[in-house]
């Protein structure tokens, strides 16, 4: 049964990893503007536009 204890520790470590990821994301400003990225991802790169023209 003690295998559950090991699983729980693994679980915490994994979840902790996500928490660290979240903290990093907030601190690097990814949540400051939640609108523009949703639009930005739809723009083609300048290079891609050139390809289409050929």
């Amino acid at each position: 049964m003690s295998v559950i204890v090991i699983l729980i520790i693994i679980g915490i470590v994994v979840a902790g990893g996500f928490l660290v990821g979240f903290i990093w994301a907030v601190k690097s400003g990814q949540y400051d503007d939640t609108y523009s990225p949703s639009v930005r991802m739809l723009f083609d790169d300048a290079k891609a536009v050139k390809k289409k023209k050929h």
Binding site: M1, S2, I4, V5, I8, G11, I12, A15, G16, F18, L19, F22, I23, V26, K27, G29, Y31, D32, D33, T34, Y35, S36, V39, R40, L42, F43, A46, V49
Partner: protein
């Protein structure tokens, strides 16, 4: 109806400008289109068609010359090193996906720009550029040339680092959420059938893990609630955060005791869940309008720099360096930055924003000009007689701001409820503890803590943030932007409403024009139009817009005589337009409205009468408001409109004219004795009154442009909905009260178990989330339901 302009989508009228077979409404739009096409940025028009911005005049001239000044530059730049600089510019006109695309492709327009990045909610673009290839001034001019005009103000220079308040709350939510999800897992086995037979090993491990995970939640995530509770107590006030703090600590102490003594694994799941939900409510309530500013002072109104004359040479200096006796040069449409004396040039100062006078005032040489006015017409030179901070206007602005937010927070509905609530809960807890200490003393402490735990007003505390947060959002959608959610409750308590006249109930840009006298022929009309289009005086502009004929004659020997009128020759015929004295040589100055007399070829033809045009639906809204509120009008303008306004406001209404900004503020102060006051204004002259009133609203044609410090901004086109907004606050309060009742009912159920000393962690774990979620759902759904029926 003509064709829509390819650039901005506006109607092109009868004579569109055609370029490359595409119609444009004006040369400005065409120019932007050409620039973008040349640089292969025409995709701008594909992402969102006709998304361009129309600007009447994009002539920048030397407007941005001050950006070459090292001192100013240093204050504005976020970063500058090794030839690379970074600046964040506020561009109020950012509005769509195309804007983001274009502004992030600025490097196609100029190779000196390394990178540009848009923050859409804040309407800001941060630009990284190479100093050697492009200067900040050139960037500003480049942006203006494509009609994205950056707004650079003094207060931007002073405060740069207040940006990240949101991040702190997000981190707290993140930590609370992480702990909540994990702790829930550990507690779950206990709630299953047979959970009481859990092995001691697991009880120990799960207990200590949840204890460890709860620590950061209790001591980091929830700390704002303790601070607020203590702050309330210091003001001898019981606020909602006090029972929350009590609940959190009782939960923590009781659970820690259970865990350490090995009795069980406690209520840690309820504890972290409670904090998590509360923080989410706080986040929801705090989502306000980032690009709007409600706290503006004179610093955001005045320009960043002024043109100083040193030994006859122009130099751009920061406003803060302006001293007494400096000579400054002020061009057309520029602001007077400090009280000054006119040296030369014909001054025509538009004080409409400062004093409410609707017609510009002409000043002669040697006369005093107060700061805040806007020069219209030619360039003037003047000597500064008082430093910026000591000018009349800034003094007015700096008068003590009574801390109305604090006064309010001590007296809102939530706090009144929580005062009784806390007293009753502590009463019940003590009663049950005393009862049990006589019958079964082992249960006494348990019953006491159980009551405090289950009564922890999570649902109660979530009601207001969610109801008012949703209301604020609905208001925003309907064109009414409020500073924070507390304004809703304040607006509900209003007893009287005070209106400003100029710009508030009248329209700023439109006027009612009528011609009295001999009827003018088409040719004569065109002649008048040709003449007045040479003058930048507001009255000339109004007449120019009033005459609809398209063609224009050439005017020779045009002359503008300050505060008198204008003359000119068309085909050898002399035209005169202006005051009665100027045009006819005689006359009186006692005119009811602004009048412009016209003389063609020596014959007096008559006069244009220009009246204020009231906002659409004004009489309707006043009639509705009159039934519930006492209405007042207070204006800095003269009495010429008194009769018209009497018709609107009724015979007995109190209408005050010729009021100085200080008079206005004092009037509000006195009126407050009879109940809460709502002040609606628009200009700097209302700034004092807006601050003094319980709720101060401003009306703005462009909500992102400057408005004095206030509690809310109404789009001018939505003014006629004002009554609806005020009435809706009542609906919002009803929803709050209804939700209170529901959360009390949950509390009664919980207390039923708690006083008997039979509250198990399972009941707590079920009751708390269910009550919170149901209250939140009721609050948000009912608000959006009512708003759809009543507001949108």
């Amino acid at each position: 109806m003509g064709l829509p302009c390819i650039h901005c989508g506006e109607d092109c009228g009868k004579h569109p400008i055609i370029w490359d077979e595409q119609p444009f409404c004006c040369h400005g739009c065409k120019t932007v289109f050409q620039i973008l096409n040349e640089k292969k940025l025409d995709k701008y028009y594909k992402i969102q068609p006709m998304s361009g911005i129309r600007v009447d005049s994009s002539e920048t001239g030397t407007k941005y010359a001050y950006l070459d000044n090292e001192e100013i530059l240093e204050k504005l730049l976020d970063f500058s090193d090794g030839g690379i600089s970074k600046i964040e510019l506020f561009i109020p006109t950012i509005h769509c996906a195309s804007c983001i695309w274009l502004l992030e492709n600025l490097n196609s327009l100029h190779a000196g720009i390394v990178q540009s990045y848009v923050n859409f909610p804040k309407k800001k673009v941060s630009i990284t550029y190479k100093d050697e290839e492009i200067s900040l001034r050139q960037i500003a001019e480049l942006l203006s040339s494509i009609h994205y005009i950056p707004e650079i103000t003094l207060d931007q220079m002073d405060k740069k680092d207040e940006k990240y308040a949101d991040r702190d709350l997000l981190l707290k939510i993140g930590v609370a959420g992480f702990s909540f999800m994990n702790v829930m897992l550990y507690n779950f086995p206990e709630y299953l059938p047979g959970g009481d037979q859990l092995e001691a090993l697991f009880i120990g491990v799960f207990g200590w893990l949840s204890f460890g995970l709860a620590l950061p939640v209790v001591f980091y995530s929830a700390q704002d609630y303790y601070l607020s509770a203590i702050k309330g107590l210091r003001h001898k006030q019981v606020n909602i955060d006090l029972p929350i703090t009590l609940g959190i600590f009782t939960l923590f102490v009781q659970s820690s005791y259970d865990i350490i003594s090995g009795n069980g694994i406690g209520y840690m799941d309820s504890l972290v869940g409670l904090v998590f939900f509360l923080l989410i409510g706080k986040f929801y309530q705090g989502k306000t309008y980032q690009a709007l500013s409600f706290e503006r002072d004179y610093k955001s109104y005045f320009p960043v720099a002024v043109t100083q004359l040193i030994d006859g040479k122009e130099a751009s200096i920061p406003l803060s360096r302006l001293k007494e006796d400096d000579v400054i040069r002020i061009r057309n449409q520029e602001l007077i930055p400090a009280d000054a004396k006119l040296l030369s040039g014909s001054a025509n100062i538009d004080y409409s924003f400062v004093t409410g006078e609707s017609i510009p005032v002409a000043k002669n040489k040697g006369e005093l000009i107060f700061a805040g006015g806007r020069q219209i017409g030619s360039t003037i030179e003047c000597t500064v007689i008082k430093a910026v901070e000591q000018s009349y206007l800034t003094q007015l602005w700096n008068q003590d701001r009574t801390d109305k937010d604090l006064a309010y927070s001590l007296n809102n509905l939530m706090n009144k409820v929580s005062e009784y609530f806390t007293a009753i809960i502590i009463g019940i807890a003590l009663t049950s503890a005393i009862y049990w200490s006589f019958s079964d003393s082992s249960k006494a402490i348990y019953a006491f803590t159980s009551v405090l735990i289950i009564a922890c007003p999570c649902a109660l505390a979530l009601t207001v943030p969610f109801t008012f947060g949703a209301t604020m959002r609905m208001f925003g959608r309907a064109g009414f932007y409020i500073k924070n959610t507390s304004i809703i409750e304040k607006l509900h308590a209003i007893k009287s409403i005070v209106f400003d006249k100029t710009g508030t109930i009248t329209m700023t840009r439109e006027a009612k024009v009528s011609f009295h006298g001999q009827e003018l022929t088409t040719k004569e009309l065109i002649m008048v139009k040709s003449l007045v289009s040479h003058s930048s005086h507001p009255l000339s502009q109004i007449i120019k817009d009033y005459i609809s004929e398209e063609s224009v004659y050439e005017v020779e020997q045009f002359q503008e005589i300050a505060s008198m009128g204008i003359t000119g020759l068309i085909d050898g015929i002399k035209l005169m337009a202006g005051s009665q004295v100027f045009v006819s040589g005689k006359g009186n100055s006692e005119a009811k409205h602004a009048q412009v007399y016209v003389n063609i070829g020596g014959e007096l033809k008559g006069y244009f009468s220009i009246e204020n045009k009231y906002r659409e639906g004004l009489s309707g809204i006043i009639q509705k408001l009159q039934k519930r509120f006492k209405l007042f009008l207070i204006s800095g303008d003269n009495e010429s409109e008194r009769e018209n306004l009497k018709g609107l406001f009724g015979e007995n209404a109190q209408l005050l004219f010729n009021q100085s900004p200080t008079d206005k503020r004092d009037f509000i102060k006195n009126l407050k004795a009879d109940g809460q006051v709502l002040m609606i204004g628009d200009g700097l002259n209302d700034a004092g009154a807006l601050m003094e009133s319980d709720v101060g609203l401003t009306i703005a044609d462009d909500i992102y442009s400057f408005s004095p410090a206030c509690d809310g901004i109404i789009e001018s086109s939505k003014f006629n909905k004002l009554h609806g907004f005020i009435r809706f606050t009542e609906t919002a309060l009803k929803v709050v009260k209804f939700s209170f009742v529901i959360s009390f009912m949950y509390n009664v159920v919980g207390l039923y178990f708690a006083v008997q000393g039979t509250l198990s962690p399972l009941i707590a774990a079920i009751l708390m989330p269910i009550s919170s979620v149901s209250v939140v759902a009721i609050a948000t759904f009912s608000i959006s339901f009512f708003a759809r029926r009543k507001l949108l």
